[in-house]
């Protein structure tokens, strides 16, 4: 079928066109319906794409018939096909969630425009995860950054600090993106091509080349900013905590993950031939930075009183786990990283959604004081929140455990006992902040009688959809493990 041949392009173009249409619609409800339908279509196409890739292992789409290396290509292989599916799934669920929660946080007349930017963000995430062109990636990176910033700034209706968070993200994100472009420039100077597959071949011929190494350094630095890797994460906590809840759940779940995926692809897929440099970077830069990031994020989260900010900080720690898995530079490490990319997206997405519902129902920001006793009044959402929390610490029968299983497997394979001990210790620390929240929300009595609205079913349904997936992946891990191993095999080959 001709439609199926064009799926990679359609995944970007469809939300893009819909975005233009939605911005012109007068009614918020119609805008939402159109957005939701588009994301659903994208989900179906993503499933179709998984099907195609599982048969052919790699699927390349040349835009306008310009064959690579001249034209822009989208490449979908084992490394990113599940990422595309993840983006599609999360965008469906969070769009569903946005129906009640985003509508409550934003003025009605702004809603169609908000959905327009929302679709733009989704389109750019699809683009980021599929593009096979180094410069095209920069363009999607900026579309994604600008649309995310706009969405974050929409939180100003609730809390004016959202504007500062958005501005900070804009400045830091722009510096990061520019760094990336500088890197691409160097790489182009060295290889004369922008096509990622072509770059690999050219680098192979060139051997170690100063310009290429400089390019790699700049590109990695730029992508790390976008991925929120410690210590260039500083835009992230404020951005996630002041954005509208629906936006936080979308961004926290997939925006950084897409950047991390590309980070891994750069390291293991593109620059793999510059072995010495990559190994040096992984062992002496990425690993220490990841470990410090894990502890920084976890400890900062323990002392945090604002729930959204707390989980934003915990995201930094979790990103640290992913980059740590990558830094082990082994097949099992990379698969562990990719498994955790998906699991953490599901977990953090559902947690941010749940917090959004809490805040919606009590009509205040969710903090350790305002949340006292709220859990008992909102048992359905709270139960989902607890399951997601258990998954975050890696309890068995949740997806988080599968991540932990494979992360530890990769760690044990290094035969480095100290590393294992450090990581085991950090995962215990994360229990502390979750326990603190549990205690506040379930065991404490509210200081004054709570005025609580009923939990809206349209809001907790998506939370439970995500939680259901978390549990299914926890009890039946075959698919998710295969996706991770497939990604690792696609990047560095089976070993």
């Amino acid at each position: 079928m001709p439609v199926f041949d064009n799926i990679p392009a359609l995944l970007v173009v469809l939300p893009l066109i819909a975005s233009a249409i939605v911005s012109l619609l007068p009614s918020a409800r119609v805008a939402w319906i159109l957005t939701f339908v588009v994301t659903l279509l994208c989900l179906f196409m993503a499933f179709e794409l998984v099907d195609i890739v599982s048969n052919t292992s790699s699927f390349s789409y040349a835009f306008g018939g310009w064959e690579p290396p001249w034209g822009i290509v989208f490449v979908v292989d084992g490394a990113n096909v599940y990422l595309v599916l993840l983006v599609a799934f999360i965008s469906v669920v969070s769009t569903f969630y946005a129906y009640t929660i985003l509508a409550a946080e934003i003025a009605v007349e702004d809603l169609p425009k908000a959905y327009s930017v929302w679709l733009l963000a989704i389109a750019s995430l699809f683009g980021l995860s599929m593009t096979g062109d180094a410069f095209n990636l920069f363009v999607f990176l900026e579309i994604s950054a600008l649309s995310s910033i706009t969405l974050i700034a929409l939180g100003a209706g609730q809390d004016r600090r959202a504007l500062l968070a958005a501005y900070n993200y804009l400045i830091i994100g722009a510096i990061g993106a520019t760094f990336y472009v500088i890197g691409v420039g160097y790489l182009y100077a060295a290889t004369g091509t922008l096509n990622l597959t072509d770059i690999v071949d050219r680098l192979n011929e060139l051997g170690t080349n100063q310009a290429a190494i400089t390019g790699l350094a700049f590109m990695l630095a730029g992508i790390m900013v976008k991925a929120g890797v410690f210590p260039v994460h500083i835009w992230l906590p404020a951005a996630y905590s002041f954005a509208p809840s629906a936006v936080s759940s979308l961004l926290a779940a997939v925006a950084t993950k897409v950047a991390i995926y590309y980070f891994a692809r750069l390291l293991f897929g593109i620059f793999a031939d510059i072995t010495l440099l990559v190994e040096f970077f992984l062992l002496y830069i990425l690993m220490p930075v990841s470990i410090i990031g894990i502890f920084f994020g976890t400890i900062a989260a323990i002392y945090q009183t604002d729930l959204k900010r707390l989980f934003a900080l915990s995201s930094i720690a979790q990103i640290g786990y992913i980059t740590l898995a990558f830094s082990l530079n082994s097949n099992s490490g990379i698969s562990a990283g990719f498994i955790h990319i998906i699991n953490h997206a599901l977990i953090k997405g559902s947690i941010f959604m749940a917090i959004g519902i809490f805040a919606f129902c009590i009509g205040k920001r969710a903090t350790m004081t305002s949340m006292q006793g709220v859990g008992r009044q909102m048992p359905i959402t709270f139960a989902g929140f607890v399951v997601a929390g258990l998954a975050l610490v890696g309890m068995p029968l949740t997806a988080g455990f599968i991540s932990k299983l494979y992360l530890f497997k990769a760690l044990f394979e290094t035969n480095n006992g100290i590393l294992v001990a450090i990581i085991a210790f950090s995962s215990v620390l994360s229990v502390l902040y979750l326990w603190k929240i549990f205690e506040v929300m379930w065991l404490k009595e509210p200081t004054k009688p709570l005025k609580i609205e009923k939990e809206p079913i349209m809001a907790y349904l998506p939370v439970w959809m995500m939680v259901a997936v978390i549990v299914v992946f926890g009890v039946y891990s075959n698919d998710i493990v295969m996706s991770g191993i497939g990604a690792a095999n696609a990047l560095i080959g089976a070993n």
């Binding site: 920069f138 363009v139 993106a177 305002s370």
Partner: protein
């Protein structure tokens, strides 16, 4: 002598580096949000010049077919890329300025140190909620 030569030959790259550092310095050191955006623009412009310099082939002419096989052309691709990058840069600046307008409306200030003090204050407010 050789080092001076190196500088003279690569003077355009030296300019790029100077502009880049100037831009970054403005972003980091300035308290004013608009000036920060100006710094960002300078920083981005330096990259544009970097790309344009990359594409220039010495003695090459504009990449328009002359019909003569001997003609030396400059590389058009970096120039085209930078057209895109300029558009992106404009969009970033536009969004940044829009945000600054909103910040001014919401906080009545666009000086970072004053805003930080305000922010601290409202964080204390949050705790007392």
């Amino acid at each position: 002598m050789t080092s001076i030569n190196l500088i003279l030959i690569n003077w355009n790259y030296i300019v790029v580096i100077l502009l880049m550092m100037a831009g970054l310095y403005i972003i980091i050191s300035n308290q004013n949000f608009i000036k920060k955006l100006v710094g960002l623009s300078i920083f981005q412009s330096s990259v544009f010049i970097f790309y344009i310099s990359l594409g220039k082939v010495s003695g090459g002419t504009a990449p328009i077919l002359t019909g003569n096989d001997e003609t030396l052309y400059s590389n058009p691709l970096p120039h085209v890329l930078i057209l895109t990058a300029i558009v992106v840069g404009v969009a970033t600046n536009a969004l940044g300025l829009a945000l600054v307008v909103r910040i001014q409306e919401a906080f009545h200030s666009i000086e970072e140190n004053k805003l930080l003090a305000l922010k601290k204050f409202s964080e204390q407010e949050d705790r007392q909620l």
